[in-house]
Amino acid sequence: MPETRLYKTEDINRAIRKQVGLGEPAPVSGLKGHDTIAVGMAAGAVVQVSGSAGDFFGALNDGGTLLLNGDAGRFAGDLMSAGELIINGDARGGVGQYLRGGVIVVKGDCKGTAGQLMKAGTIIIDGSAGADVGKYMMGGQIIVNGGLGEHAGENMMGGSLFVKGEVRSLGLNARLSAPSAEDLDRLRYLHRQYRFRAVQGDEDFNEYKKVAPESPRPLVGEAPG
């Protein structure tokens, strides 16, 4: 792949598509904050990026395996439906918003608003996660191995938000409880897959708390249907 800072997003994505179309991994090096890189990847695509990604990295991933060695901008993995997105760095806000499936792993911190209106899938944030995580969440799971900021799980209606660190404040309709044995088994399974930095021994799983919806119908009002 060519030196990316000389290229536009359109050129880089075209080169990625060409490479994955040949059934080969697409390496991209020296990314300099380009937005909308590696979006809409299909099953079987493997994209390995180094550098800093801009906004919407890996959005609408539909089964690809995407690895970013560097930091991501906002909305990484937006509306992703399948596959895997690993960020070996920090992510700005909005990781995995509207997520429908697949796994997103952020090895560093995330600024906030992760997993808003997600319906399924898994988001793992190895560091801390900022404010407004899991707002309007309808399904799936978010695991935060650091702390959560304000309004965690605001108006969530389904799914689970697990946190190992401090929860600064809960949002409307969110309640804190202890994870079930089944929940902990799921966390152990994910730890085996993705190696949580915050877990050194099995006793560390006892520190997890679960944020879940108080009611499946938190909001007043009705949209047309």
Binding site: T9, E10, N13, R17, D35, T36, V39, G40, A42, D55, F56, A59, L60, D62, R74, F75, D78, L79, S81, G93, G94, Q97, Y98, R100, T113, Q116, L117, K119, K135, Y136, M138, G139, N155, M157, G158, P216, R217, L219, G221, E222, A223, P224, G225
Partner: protein, 415 residues
């Protein structure tokens, strides 16, 4: 003062939900008249020599621009808000007429895709704030992507699609969990400021490999500023939904009071287009709300639009008998349109209804041709505000069109 409404609120303590266009009197396009061509400027064109009414959207940026045979389209009605037969009628009728239909959020039915394949239909797929039913395949199936900036009801507060009102078929198409409420946010969660609009347009272009045009749809509000922002985003077209557009099952105060009427959108939109040179870059202006016949379409085009959305007229053409007055949001539509009840849906023969829609669109396009020829134009691209006169002071003030009798624009438009 509406005594009955006060009494209703006093008894129920509830906000009233309504469907359809607003009921309050707004200055309509009938307050403008068309100037036949004579000596001043031009002579009438011979309609037998033909009048071009086709429109192309995305001609300068999309690999497959959207070509419409008439300057009209059918805005989207999400599956669930209308039933399957209504959706198929919109797809079939618009295909026969050579125009496009919108899907709204919630996906495309396999039968709609088949109609598009068989009859060369064209669909406008939606990228809305809830993203329900939005998948990669869905986005790539469209002939244009519409970035809908607002949620249900021209930017209403967050709402729920309650589980009692959704069906399993809808859940399957929308990719949603059946038996649960679905959240509808008022705005895109991944749009944090006006500059992000450009990011979304770029994202949609990348996801569709720059194949189809991207249209930004706005509720008519602060028209000049927002149209400029939409143009700056790099969109191929800006679609303004005026206050006269029907809404379905939203708070009555929103339906009646939120938005800017059609007559008032053209002046500021034209100014935004002129200031940015958007017209020269191939950007198109689409409008919808309150228009139903060829004269409305002619006037909208003369005022600066390139194509016109016909949401309410399309429902009436396929058999709606209520004009949005009552049952649209109850799921008990007697015409089988705004319902998911199989017994009611069966009342609508989608093929016949689609043919009726096509007939209506053909007649409407012929009206546009007749009026354009009478005004001395061989193509709708030549229409301008000079082809119109306002017959009321209000219309002249809102539109900037010359006032009949005064023969000039009002002084407020002279600078």
């Amino acid at each position: 003062m509406n005594d009955k409404e006060i009494q209703r609120k006093a008894a129920s303590g509830a906000v009233r939900l309504s469907s359809g266009p607003p009921e309050r009197a707004l200055p309509g396009l009938d307050q403008l008249t068309i100037c036949p061509a004579q000596l001043a400027g031009r002579f009438p064109a011979d309609i037998f020599e033909g009048v071009e009414t086709d429109v192309v959207i995305g001609g300068k940026s999309a690999r497959d621009p959207l070509a419409l045979m008439a300057p009209v389209f059918i805005p989207g009605s999400p599956y669930g808000e209308v039933g399957k037969n209504a959706r198929l009628a919109f797809a079939y009728g618009s295909a026969l007429a050579g125009v496009a239909f919108g899907t709204g959020e919630g996906g495309v039915l396999p039968e709609e895709a088949e109609i598009c394949r068989q009859f060369h239909g064209k669909s406008l797929v939606s990228w809305g704030p809830a993203r329900h039913g939005v998948t990669l395949d869905f986005l790539r199936s469209g002939d244009a992507v519409v970035f809908e900036l607002f949620g249900a009801g021209r930017g209403c507060t967050t709402g729920l699609l309650r589980k009692e009102r959704t069906t399993e078929a809808q859940a399957r198409l929308w990719g949603m969990p059946p038996g649960a409420d679905w959240v509808v946010p008022p705005a895109h969660l991944d749009l944090e400021g006006p500059d992000d609009l450009k990011q979304h347009v770029n994202l949609l272009r990348e996801l569709t490999d720059h194949r189809v045009p991207v249209i930004v749809k706005l509720a008519a509000s602060r028209v000049h500023e927002e149209v400029r922002t939409a143009i700056d985003s790099g969109a191929d077209a800006v679609w303004l939904e005026a206050l006269e557009s029907p809404l379905y099952g939203v708070p009555d105060v929103l339906l009646e009071q939120a938005g800017v009427p059609l007559m008032a959108v053209f002046g500021p939109a034209r100014r935004a287009f002129e200031e940015t040179g958007a017209r020269e870059r191939g950007v198109r202006l689409l409008v919808s709300g309150g228009m139903a016949d060829g004269s409305d379409v002619f006037k909208a085009l003369a005022l600066g639009a390139d194509a016109v959305g016909l949401p309410e007229a399309a429902r009436i053409a396929i058999g709606c008998t209520e004009g949005g007055e009552g049952s649209c949001h109850t799921g008990k539509c007697p015409a089988g349109i705004a319902t998911m009840d199989p017994r009611l849906e069966a009342k609508l023969d989608w093929k016949a209804a689609g043919q009726a829609l096509a007939n209506y669109l053909h007649a409407l396009n012929d009206e546009v041709r007749v009026l354009a020829a009478a005004a001395g134009h061989r193509t709708i691209r030549g229409l301008s505000p000079e082809d119109l006169r306002a017959v009321t002071y209000d219309a002249a003030a809102l539109s900037g069109v010359k006032l009949a009798g005064y023969e000039r624009a009002l002084p407020m438009w002279m600078h």
